[in-house]
């Protein structure tokens, strides 16, 4: 499908702003419900987008999420300005976390965010540059046979 037939929405994220944290994934969930996406896919998207959003709130200065929906797939791209990730393989391991005590107090820092994004999505790409920032590209296919 042509991109102009898709639905695109951009969101901004402010690092450290826990009061609004999670609102992007809520909005994405509402859009998907309105359009009639299967609820099991919505659940996976909600979890992945929430984890991605939270990582930006917790670790970056600021960032952007773009949400692109067409009749084949859902694509969520994030890019942030922040410290970047030194060792991506390590960050992808379950249980690895550099969360502060305050963050752990709030229930974060289990080191499950990135692994969960990968687990729940059909395609997952992560790139990062130290001192610059981190980019994610997360794809979900609406029909499982379209999986590549």
């Amino acid at each position: 499908m042509e991109p102009e037939n898709g639905f695109i929405q951009e969101f901004k994220v402010k690092g450290g702003d826990f009061s609004k944290a999670g609102s992007i994934s809520t909005e994405i969930k509402e859009i998907l419900q309105e359009v009639g996406i299967d609820s099991s896919i919505i659940r996976r998207v909600a979890i992945a987008s929430y984890e991605a959003e939270m990582n930006m709130v917790m670790y970056s200065r600021k960032g952007e999420v773009s949400f692109i929906l067409d009749s084949v797939k859902i694509l969520i791209k994030t890019s942030d300005e922040g410290p970047g990730i030194e060792d991506i393989d390590k960050a992808m391991q379950e249980g690895f976390s550099t969360a502060t005590d305050e963050m752990r107090e709030m229930g974060f820092g289990a080191g499950m965010g990135l692994p969960n994004i990968k687990k729940h999505s059909d395609e997952f790409k992560i790139t990062s540059e130290i001192g610059k920032g981190t980019n994610l590209s997360i794809t979900f296919y609406l029909e499982q046979q379209n999986k590549q």
């Binding site: 944290a21 999670g22 419900q33 009639g36 609820s39 929906l69 009749s71």
Partner: protein, 457 residues
Amino acid sequence: MNQYYHSIRIDEDKCDGRMKCMRICPTQAIRVRNGKAKIIEEKCIDCGECITACPNQAIIPQTDPFGELSRFKYTIAIPSPSLYAQFGREILPEKILAGLQSVGFNEAFDLALTCGEVSFAIQEYLRDYDGPKPLISNACPTVVRLIQVRYPGLIENLIPIDTPREISSRALKKQKSKEIGLDPKDIGTFYITPCPAKMISIKQPAEKGKSHLDGALSIADIYGPLLSAMEKMEKGNYRKSLESICILGIGWAISGGICQTLRIKNSLVTSGLSEILKVFDDIEKGKLRNIDFIEAYSCHQGCVGGSLTVENLYISYNKILKLINTLEFEKIKACPDIREVRKLYEQNYFFMNGKIESRPLKPLDDNIAIAIKKKKEKEALYESLPKIDCGVCGSPTCLAFAEDSVRGEVNITDCILRYPEKIKALTKNKSFTAFSSKRDKSTAAREADKKGRKHET
């Protein structure tokens, strides 16, 4: 035939389209079309807010009339513990149960006892539970519907333990048919309800099975006859009738009652739909992962705030609280035996039969590509609207109007601010002109005067 049963009905003859229901509806399930309120079946969760908001009593709760009792050879009243909070402080459950018998039931059952058992069962379930948290109580049918419709992702958080009203009805039918030798079909169990919402859990249970209850009578309907029946009765011994009250069960009448009497540490209590929406949004974002159990009631202060209750909700809330305090102080523990409850728990006695399924809202279109197109149209249309949510178009907000428009249910010219000609058409409407002529100059002057004075002080 409608797909969804609802416990409220709009009387079109009484409705004059004043939109109070539409503005108050927490799920935006009401529209006003051609001067009459209409309920969108799939969006309504039967909270009953509109019943109280309607100035014309045009929204009518659909509880059962007293005559329903005659369908059965033997009838049992099962009153919501909130009924116990409707009368003077010296009137205790024992007397209320006796009163119910004298208004026409063969028997009245103290549901607080089963509530106590279910409290213990919840405690058992929480102890070994390691699924998604927090667990959410399912006592309020409106909350269950809300989750089915708006938060399908939270269905697995609903506690799978059945409600006391269902469990006791099931048990009573079995026990009574043995005792008096009647077919269970001839035994009618009736919930005495503080809200119409319980009707939906009877007529169309969330878990697809069949309810064990045969109907529900409104507290408001039964209040008068019950009060006069009790006035004729002798005064009982206060202390003695205190001793039969189950402290764990009585708490089910008010928000927080379950958690308080069970002393669940990591729990949270919320009541009132607007508050619940905030809490559920937070659960979805994963913010409340370290809470074990949430008590949520659609009505403020819990079931004592139900739309079919009689007493002021804060007074009745306090009455239950004081009763709990008295029982605690007197060390009265007329509660079910926890060992018995554990035995029953092991036999799955408390668990719900079916599974609760989601009931997602109708998408903008069944075809995803078209739905996406409509979504874009909706957003574009919304951008062109005044965004002041005046509601005159008959949709509760500008966003809802945009949605109604792409669904083909309204015409864009219905927006009075984009199409001022619409105001002219509206002022031709009878009720509007009648109102403006009634408000003569002197009232207008008086009002202006009042306002002026207010500013001075």
